[in-house]
Symmetry: D4
Subunit: 220 residues, 8 copies
């Protein structure tokens, strides 16, 4: 019965270069099965799929999924490892933000795009960022994952000439307001031209980076 509830955007890769990814949170198990069965033989990126949901899938399907628990992402079908020189850096302010930055790097991997990952370079201990900044600046695109006050995108945005994509995270409590403070803070960054995606949306940041990367490449 669930099948009539699912209509995948199978034309998306042709239009945008992306496959439709499946945000698993909020979908019933029946819906997920219907989606995976429609796409068998093809490949698919699954986001926000928790270990429990994975276990509830029929083994025939779950066995085809390459799962990474920290980011809760899965690759369904065959996905090749990234190769080549990284043009995208993914950096995080704190250890708690890594589940989000990993979602970004996994999304890039799904599309065969390599990236540099650096964790724990938050501005409270500025020396950690400064140690790596020259390396970071060599990348055309920098994804900056930060919660709390989201000071990192501003500092990076003031030092790096490339495209800076801020991903606010929901870490913290109280005035962190589930990530809204980091979100608003990123949006009013004092550094010019920092762009922002939704709270905890590592997937979206990676897609934006791919848009910029691909349009840059094809543009030449």
């Amino acid at each position: 019965m669930a099948e009539r509830d699912v209509k995948l955007d199978i034309d998306r890769r042709k239009r945008l270069g992306f496959d439709e990814a499946i945000l698993c949170a909020g979908k019933s198990c029946e819906h997920l099965v219907a989606i995976l069965e429609q796409l068998e033989g093809s490949r698919l990126l699954l986001t926000r799929i928790d270990a429990e949901t994975l276990e509830n899938l029929p083994p025939k399907l779950s066995r085809q999924i390459d799962y990474e628990p920290l980011s809760r992402t899965g690759f369904f079908g065959t996905v090749e490892a990234p190769t080549g020189k990284a043009e995208i850096a993914v950096i995080t302010a704190g250890t708690s933000d890594v589940s989000v930055s990993r979602e970004a790097s996994r999304t890039l991997s799904y599309y065969g795009v390599p990236c540099l990952e650096i964790a724990d370079v938050g501005v409270a201990g500025l020396w950690r960022l400064m140690e790596r900044i020259e390396e970071i600046k060599r990348h055309r695109i920098v994804i900056v994952v930060a919660g709390l006050d989201a000071a990192l995108p501003s500092v990076v945005g003031g030092l790096v000439p490339g495209l800076v994509i801020a991903v606010p995270t929901s870490t913290g409590y109280g005035a962190a307001r589930g990530g809204e403070t980091a979100l608003f803070s990123s949006l009013v960054s004092c550094a010019p031209g920092v762009v922002v995606v939704n709270i905890d949306n590592g997937y979206g940041a990676a897609c934006a980076a791919l848009r910029a990367l691909w349009c840059g490449v094809s543009g030449e």
Copy 2:
């Protein structure tokens, strides 16, 4: 006395490729004069400068400003007109959003970067967008300026493969909440990889486009 309150980031162009722009709203006339005098002979982009403030500046300074009233932007010093093929499109949902999109296009002009401007292609009359979509898709970067429900970035993001930068605007009343609805709506766009800047921030969108453009160019 005001001079000690002003310390421009004169090193910015070297680091980022941008000059520091001056957001005039919220600055006293004394501060603006101090800033302009520091930079005489050089050039500067002024944003959110209203006609009244302009008139209050000493003629010696105001006479050096090329002012555009709809966007409330001014070019201080000599700025060359853009040349070459446009790789950036700036489109708006409604007529009321044009003051913001013009801020974006003027910022691009300041840096000599041409763009295509299209107004009034909101989705309530979808045919207007569809008439122009092939033309829009030919651009590497699309800045989408939209208030109210900000449905336009989602529709564009689903049709265009390049980098899509949404600029929510404060048009509308009531549940438009001064642009917060458009902001949140853009952030949770159902199209993948749409990035967002602050409400009414045409300047920031242009800077982001320049970051993507320049890093793309230099990357080759």
Copy 3:
């Protein structure tokens, strides 16, 4: 003891054409039993009743309930299947919104009113909507169920002349704000005359459709 806490609006059908439906979430099991016992022999629509609550009811009562798990609705007593031509369409942007659209269609079914259900026609893949739009336009009333940026009601509202009832949903995270973004977005739709009900309120949308349908019919 709980009985004194329950006083059903048994006069409602005479006044409005509706029975009082019971929103089960937030009601104690004792209260539900008291309500069902008062209405035995009659019929009743139960909304937001989860499988667990159902199991805790006395078998004598639960056995009289026709339950649909995705929408968490139950029909208590005898309900006839809908017949005739559908004048109402119920469409959803994404798969995650189907639990809400199903609540709407089930409510219509309870009153013997047929409808067309179409899922997954969100605007990120506009071709899916365009494939079906002529069919949708043939209905007098269109219920549009959409979360996130709720761009679908605007696009539909710009293409369909009938009454468009938007149901924002709580799908998504972060800036989706539990459905408030979709709610506000629907309220400031750029399409004229779109009306809105509460977040996730498929039941309310169906009631509104019935009001419009019945008043239209009797008006002739």
Copy 4:
């Protein structure tokens, strides 16, 4: 120069039955002139146009506008007076809400649709509503304009079987929160099937009523 910023949805009447109305607030005088000149010889509904803006228009244009100051609406071009039996009632809770209800009735008038207007039937003095309720119930559609606690839509929604469209208003101060309290209150009305439009949006309520009215008529 402004002309390129304006692209009217001239196809709207064919698609939806409506003309595009112009929300004048937030538009520059140049933009208004560009719009009116494009439509000369035709007709147009102007909303939120204040007396001052009207005076700033060229006399050639302003002279063609039939202006109503309380609702701040204008009819540009020739508009016939409504005729026939009213099937829509527009009622308000308080005197301060009349500017909004008048916007609704003026919009109906623009389309030649008559309505019954009743003011000041708020529930704090319930007898005022009860005196008129039988008359109100005879209408297929009731637009209920109410600010503050918006208790009126609930009471009306519990007494009237037709379509009830609530228009929350921004009257009041403090916890009225510029109309958000009335908005949320209307959305969670304890009466089933009440639909809601944006705060102060008398125009939108009228459009919704026209959608329901016209789809009802053509449906037979």
Copy 5:
């Protein structure tokens, strides 16, 4: 060790007429035990104590508690049943609000003050309120417990001359916003002189009623 963390306001009855009541939610079991042991031989009102916490108390203490599960209140020590004529009415809009109204009536009982309890007189079915309104009006103080749009306090406040105390409740979902809509709605009631307590605060409403009752009595 926990004892040093507890310092009861043992002087309160002398100053205000009340005992200090203990809000059990958010207190550790050790703290509750420390409090009850300090007051053994005396009496105490416990609010928001769930069945699970009760079971975790030492039997020596829990055995002295008269528990009512719907309101989650407990009387510790000996409490006499109320006697005399009721001067306070406690009414609720819906069945889901009864847990809150019961907290109010139990608090009154703790102080030996009788009240009239009426449930399910919400305005969507106005006849239910009208059937009882003459009886309600005979009370000096009316506590009105209502969630969602909180239309009931306004209607009652317009019909009853006595002190009307609104208790907004957290029933509902979406735009009900955990009771904030009912709270704001009550605060901007169109009926004059309605007073409000915190969301779900049946205890506070009862205390306010006792203040009014006692000051009225002693005032003569």
Copy 6:
């Protein structure tokens, strides 16, 4: 034309003991004139009427108004001065709150009810309250007007056994949030049984006090 927009609740005094008061803010001059003319020969309380509006009224009407500028209240028609012993105290935390407390005392005066007014007893200088607390405690009802952190109602509520009505005010800036902080703070007062009215609503507090006073008096 405006007359049809006005329907006063002329039955209110019989039902509740109050006349309908007119909140002048947000009403057009025409509406005010229509109201006053309907009530000539009778009497009426006007609130939030600024000096400018007063001057715009026809002299025949304005001359019948006893105006107090700080509270912006007017008595239309003949109002007798209060007599007898004060049973109500109206106290304020700061000088900026006096415009609100004066609205309360003026409302009481309109109904011939005397009160004690004390200003500037905020808790930052606790000695000022302590000097007067014995005097305050002798009143059956205490209206406490306080903005900012609204600490005063809690301290008073812990010292005074009578009915305590908190009126939060919109004084302050930033985190004062236009009075919402004071409002929420009053609602969660740590003192039991404090009741609250809308921000800056001195009129409502007075009406509540009158309800309590009159029901107490008639109750004996």
Copy 7:
């Protein structure tokens, strides 16, 4: 008549070391005159007094006020210039924040306490801060005034061992939300032990610095 509305906390200096300062915004001219006349011969700090209010004071009073327009502060009576070594630094992120930092430095001056003022060291151009950081670190207390994303307090809090007091400012638009973003951002600073005062509250920051300074001094 206004005099009874004013009761200064004349005992404050003895208790806390401070005089009561007068926040002039929101006070009527009559109230200000009443306050100044009560304190003639003594001295007083006036905050948020705009030039217009100053001009409306009787010359006898205004002449005794030493006014600074950027901070809108006035010293009434004789105030000595600060002497000695600065132990407090007041730094700002941007030029627009100087009106707030000046309020802090003026408050310190009123109490004879010297401070170092540095403007425009926001993190978007990190080199500006780094040039001065050794100088800043030599101060026991650093007041950091920053709006927008308030990244500066975090960076400073990670580099400076002394007490760091963040003053969020209301500069910016859109997602800056009148300073709330800077406020929340400061509260969740990733640097440990940063403390925060209200938005734009330069006065409060200075008072806190004085508390820390004086208690440190007297503590030895």
Copy 8:
């Protein structure tokens, strides 16, 4: 794999005097193990570590942790007990706030700094505070932990000359808004110079106190 996600700010003690503390909530077990193993032989403060997480650590690590359950803090490695005279007081309004105040006192203990702890001195029973106020005033720094209306910091701030650090807590329900009411209330305290940290942030308050204490001591 997790190790690369962790980069401790090992230089912090040298810069600021603090070790980096680890907020355990939101960190995976793997990350915690990686952190503890990096620091073995050294010492570390763990905050927000619940008993369950503790049990999941390898015994080799958990055995080195001195755990306090009410505050959920742990000392990893050897920590000496505080000695000397207390210059800091930590006081709480209610028993429910003790988990937060204990986090503050435990943090001070970790650094060998003694403090005076007093619980349950909320202003609803003012005598409890007044009994202890002379003792409290003898401390250079007072940390005031209070939820709900947070009236205590204002009263204390008006009586105590030292540095007053308010810690709002998330106790309460409804209008307490998870501690935001206490937060905003503290920020607009009517007492001058009260500073504020994040909701429930006992750790941050202690760090601020240490900054003030150490800079005061070294300043002499």
